[in-house]
């Protein structure tokens, strides 16, 4: 009887072996669910909610967010894995698999009487060794375009269709390369714009910006070329004065006059803009003028702008102000007094595209765009979300490999290599903690095993083949998902992120050892402590 039940007879508890069994079964349960989704040949999952909403995905991160996990241990693992995704953008499924496998391997030893503490010590040693091995196997050097492309395809093929993945990888690489600057990469400068389109599914890269709104005046031009872009954060909207001051007037005309005087304030601002336009675009120069405002522009002001042939866009996204100045040059102004020629940006063409009730404005042909837009077209909501999630991950993968300055050969190559080296390492260690190292080494093999099972091959066969090859060959070897043979991932262009692998090794070991060391699970306590 547990001590807690003396204090609180209502408490639920599970002790020692029972507690471990609870944790292990939960970890393996969640592993079973995610197993089939690993690798380029993994299956998709279609989630249908009670009301009939559909979501189709094989991205581990999305799945864990969508599935309702009740079991506390399972949800702990799920949270750890999704946190992993937040940090690096990939590796969710692998994390879940390895944690499950570590516990499974440990279970065998514990049932034979090995103390969990000894096992975890071994695992931690093995992890340190594995991290060393990771340093050894990684392919260093500033990645060129081809390498980045390989990187992106590897990541994307595990998330979407092969055909789609290859196309998207190209776009992602181009996007990241064009926004790359001296001081690093800010992925916010890649705008993802969704368009729900009846017929086509297509993703394109726009070297410039696509805004999700258009002009709100019928007389404004729909398409202009050689355009100066003015980005500003100035209200061009008439608001009644703040204080509750009534007008005192005798006649209707007088009232009209007073109202006009109040409006005049806003009108002056618009006139400033028009003045600038006249200065930079003299008639006949073939140049035109576009105002993109973060604040509102009311119909009167729009009217004044339209008469001058200026396109006026209101309520632009806050982040787009920054993007605009990166894409077109110039800078955003906060006051009409700052408006000079220097703050203007330039775009070769600006045009509007209408789709249903939505208007889009394309700002294209910029001189040196440091901000780009990926335009996603799809027939329905879930396709769009699926593509968007995948692009997010693709961009992250590319950024990671540029930041790391290194990549790791994929297709299970690292796991096989680490297994082999850990076998050697094991012999150098004395005592029972070598069991932990053995468990760790075996657990890593789950990745190549699952990849081959998902591709329809026999796992044991594959592992044996790989182990043989690995012993003989000099370079890393991995699973060929098409033929079931061994391949050279470096030649085949299959790469994983260095930081993702590193993170997986770290977090899996920590979580697995924590779960192993649990000897009592209690559910009790004051409800007030839940907060």
């Amino acid at each position: 009887m547990a001590a807690i039940s003396l204090l609180n007879p209502k408490a639920e508890f599970a002790r020692a072996a029972q507690a471990l069994a609870v944790n292990i079964s939960a970890a393996r349960g969640i592993q079973d669910v995610m197993k089939t989704n690993l690798g380029p040949k993994g299956t998709m999952k279609m989630l249908v909610s009670g009301a009939g909403d559909i979501k189709i995905t094989k991205d581990g991160n999305v799945l864990l967010h969508e599935m309702q996990i009740q079991h506390p241990t399972a949800s702990l693992i799920a949270r750890a894995s999704t946190a992993m995704d937040d940090a690096t953008g990939d590796g969710t499924t692998s994390t879940v698999l390895i944690i499950g496998e570590l516990l499974k391997q440990a279970e065998n030893y514990i049932s034979e009487g090995v103390h969990p503490r000894v096992l975890t010590e071994g695992m931690i040693k093995a992890r340190d060794k594995a991290l060393e091995l990771l340093e050894k196997i990684k392919v260093e050097g500033k990645p060129d375009r081809q390498r980045l492309y390989d990187m992106a395809t590897t990541s994307l093929r595990t998330k979407v269709d092969r055909k789609l993945a290859d196309q998207m990888a190209d776009i992602c690489v181009d996007a990241v390369l064009s926004i790359q600057r001296e001081d690093g990469i800010d992925l916010h400068m890649v705008e993802l714009m969704e368009m729900q389109h009846k017929t086509s599914t297509e993703t394109t890269l726009v070297k410039g910006l696509v805004l999700d709104h258009g002009s709100r005046h019928p007389d404004m031009p729909r398409k202009v070329e050689n355009a100066y872009i003015l980005t500003c954060n100035v209200s061009m909207e008439y608001e009644k004065s703040e204080v509750n001051s009534g007008f005192f007037y005798k006649t209707a005309e007088e009232r009209e006059k007073l109202a006009l005087a109040e409006r005049d304030f806003i009108e002056q601002r618009v006139k400033k803009v028009i003045e600038l336009k006249r200065k930079v675009c003299p008639p006949g120069s073939g140049k035109s003028f576009v105002v993109i405002n973060q604040k509102g522009i009311d119909p009167f002001s729009l009217d004044m702008l339209a008469k001058e042939g200026i396109i006026g866009l209101r309520r632009a996204k806050r982040r787009n102000m920054e993007r605009l100045s990166l894409a077109c040059g110039g800078s955003a102004v906060n006051s009409v007094d700052d408006m000079t020629e220097d703050v203007l940006g330039y775009a070769g063409s600006v045009y509007e595209y209408v789709l249903g009730e939505n208007k889009y404005t394309f700002v294209e042909d910029c001189k040196n765009p440091l901000s780009v837009t990926i335009l996603i077209k799809g027939p329905n909501k879930y396709t769009l979300t699926q593509i968007k999630d995948a692009i997010h991950d693709g961009l992250r993968a590319i950024k990671n490999s540029i930041d790391d300055g290194a990549v790791v050969p994929g297709a299970g190559a690292f796991e096989i290599f680490a297994w082999q080296e850990l076998q050697k390492f094991k012999d150098e260690i004395k005592g029972k903690s070598r069991l932990g190292i053995q468990a760790f080494a075996e657990a890593l093999l789950i990745i190549p095993k699952t990849i081959s099972i998902n591709s329809g091959f026999d796992a044991q066969d594959m592992i044996v083949k790989l182990q043989e090859e690995c012993r003989e060959s000099i370079g890393p070897v991995g699973v060929n998902v098409d033929s079931g043979e061994v391949l050279q991932p470096v030649d085949a262009g299959i790469f994983d992120n260095y930081c993702v692998k590193k993170q997986i090794l770290n977090s899996c070991t920590i979580i697995a050892s924590n779960l192993l060391l649990v000897d009592e699970i209690m559910r009790a306590g004051m409800s007030s402590l839940k907060g």
């Binding site: 089939t36 040949k41 993994g42 299956t43 998709m44 999952k45 279609m46 989630l47 249908v48 909610s49 009670g50 009301a51 009939g52 909403d53 559909i54 189709i56 094989k58 967010h65 599935m67 309702q68 506390p72 269709d161 092969r162 729900q196 009846k198 999700d212 709104h213 709100r216 209200s235 608001e239 009644k240 703040e242 204080v243 509750n244 509102g296 009311d298 119909p299 209101r314 309520r315 996204k317 806050r318 249903g356 009730e357 027939p379 329905n380 909501k381 396709t383 409800s527 007030s528 402590l529 839940k530 907060g531």
Partner: protein, 551 residues
């Protein structure tokens, strides 16, 4: 060019959405699709937007954004969906195209309740061109036991960008509660709120030519207060000089359901203090007298028999009140705006305002307004703000609806030339005259509208047996098979000195909570010092209400 002064509605939290669902149902029930009839007095464009869907059909949906926890609502495809979806046959083609295997995980289907089943049937009949009609408007429904969440009675259809679901917390999840202000504030930083929600808001704002402001309702007892508070800060920043009317709401059901109630007062004080700073006016709403603490006493209206512990019922009353007291600046005749309303009702920084309602008016079917007013006792309404009374007001707005000019005097009425009440030409004039005699509030604005509340299903059937189908009193019972389809109502906003008591009580209730218990509640957004300052601040603000001789 039309000059509708648009309003964007924002709803945070489950009870707010309960009220919202009733509110939008009420709006939809009052729509008139007859082309030939003269324009209504209420301008729906203020709250609604017109759009075009992918099939080229015109849609008319609320200009509204709501936020709720995961699993707190569902959207039934044959009731709610469809406005912006394409045919589902595309899906099957899509699936056949892709070469990968697909594993399907299906949740249990949500069963339709009686009302939705009838709606779906009706839709089918229309699609198939069958003449047979189901009269949904005249059938008596009893949904009291079926309604668990707000989408259970939501008839109105929304634009796809309307609903934001918070994935971090689940509805009714006892192991991971969303019950404190700081959690809500931290939630603002999530991608869903900071990127998607603000973008959706911007898209609504971009469409508006003359955006005048925001209606924001939020649950004040749980974490949604914090989330709403952060979004208010954002609104102040991005949409400065727009008006914000906030409505913190308190569900009685929520309080009964949880014995651990000390956080409620704390959350509410934090919210109120932030509303003083960021809103132009705020109206706390609750049908029970306690508000943030458990209380037996609750709003009792003479001709309603509702169950206060049912959110479905209490929210219907609050929704009717909101629908009525906002009519002043939603009418077609250009008589008011949010700005004038706010500045008039909130002199000297008294931003907290209480609300009141009487539903239905105890107006007998053959009676007239003059007789009704002469026989009635003051006040005409009951307060629906916790710990508030409506007397001792310095300013008020009263809106009466459902009484038209034909009901001013009785048919065989003899005019007394000296009595001013015998010469009123409009309903509002007579009510104003009456209030100027009986009620000593200095600044009273009165509006009256002919159109009554459309209380057809899914409005709960909570009227007393003596109310007839048109919402007037009858001496005989209404037959069990008929529903109250329309209803008269009076509702008002009052800036009353009693708000001072409310603020002081709130401060006392929250300072009873031991600080040691709170330390784990707060996070980096807010700490104990901030909280203590907040409580001090509430006291300072309550002083605004103490001077009687203001104005």
């Amino acid at each position: 060019m039309n000059s509708t002064r648009e309003i964007i509605t924002l709803q945070f939290g489950h009870y707010s959405n309960f009220i919202g669902s009733h509110f939008w149902n009420l709006q939809e029930a009052s729509f008139n699709y007859d082309e030939n009839c003269e324009p209504q007095e209420i301008c729906n464009d203020v709250l609604y937007r017109e759009g075009v869907n992918m099939k080229g059909e015109v849609t008319y949906t609320p200009r509204m954004l709501c936020v709720d926890l995961k699993n707190s609502y569902y959207q039934l495809p044959d009731v709610h969906g469809g406005l912006y979806d394409l045919e589902s046959s595309d899906l099957d083609e899509e699936l056949l195209d892709s070469s990968t295997k697909i594993q399907t995980i299906r949740e249990e289907l949500v069963p339709h309740n009686e009302y939705f089943a009838d709606l779906a049937k009706q839709e089918q009949f229309i699609d198939n061109g069958v003449e047979e009609k189901l009269n949904v408007t005249e059938k008596v429904y009893n949904l009291d036991n079926d309604v668990k969440i707000w989408s259970d009675f939501l008839k109105a259809r929304f634009h796809p960008r309307t609903i934001t679901s918070i994935d971090e917390y689940k509805h009714n999840d006892t192991s991971n509660l969303f019950n404190n202000f700081a959690q809500g504030m931290a939630l603002w930083d999530s991608y869903k709120m900071k990127e998607i929600w603000t973008d959706n808001l911007r898209l609504y704002a971009e469409e508006c030519d003359y955006l005048q402001g925001f209606h924001i309702s939020m649950d004040s007892l749980n974490g949604f207060g914090g989330l709403a508070c952060k979004s208010l800060e954002y609104l102040k920043d991005e949409y400065s000089n727009k008006n914000i009317i906030a409505m913190p709401v308190m569900s009685n059901n929520y309080i009964i359901g949880d014995e651990n109630s000390e956080l409620y007062a704390v959350n509410t004080s934090l919210l109120f203090s932030s509303l003083f700073e960021h809103s132009n006016m705020f109206v706390p709403l609750s049908t029970s007298d306690g508000g943030w603490v458990k209380s037996q006493k609750h709003l009792s209206l003479d001709y309603l028999c509702y169950k206060n512990e049912l959110d479905y019922h209490s929210s219907a009353i609050l929704a009717s009140a909101i629908d009525t007291f906002t009519l002043g600046y939603r009418s077609r005749s250009d008589c008011g705006s949010m700005k004038t309303e706010c500045t008039r009702l909130t002199p000297l920084g008294r931003k907290a305002v209480s609300a009141s309602i009487q539903l239905p008016l105890g107006f007998e079917s053959k009676s007239n307004l003059l007789d009704f007013l002469q026989e009635s006792k003051l006040p005409l309404w009951q307060p629906i703000s916790p710990r508030c009374i409506t007397e001792m007001s310095v300013a008020q707005t009263v809106v009466l609806r459902g009484i038209n000019e034909k009901m001013l005097y009785s048919n065989n009425f003899i005019r007394d030339s000296k009595n001013p009440s015998h010469h009123c030409t409009s309903v509002s004039a007579m009510l104003k005259l009456y209030l100027s005699f009986c009620d000593n509030v200095r600044m009273t604005e009165v509006y009256a509208f002919d159109s009554s509340l459309e209380t057809i299903a899914p409005f709960p059937n909570i009227f007393s047996q003596y109310v007839n189908q048109h919402g007037f009193l009858e001496s005989t019972y209404r037959s069990a098979t008929s529903v109250v389809a329309k209803c008269t109502a009076i509702s008002g906003l009052h800036n009353s000195n009693s708000t001072r008591d409310m603020l002081i009580e709130l401060q006392t209730d929250s300072s009873k909570v031991k600080c040691s218990k709170l330390s784990h509640v707060f996070n980096y957004e807010i700490d104990l010092m901030d909280y203590k300052e907040t409580l001090e601040n509430l006291l300072v603000l309550s002083d605004n209400y103490s001077t009687n001789d203001c104005l």
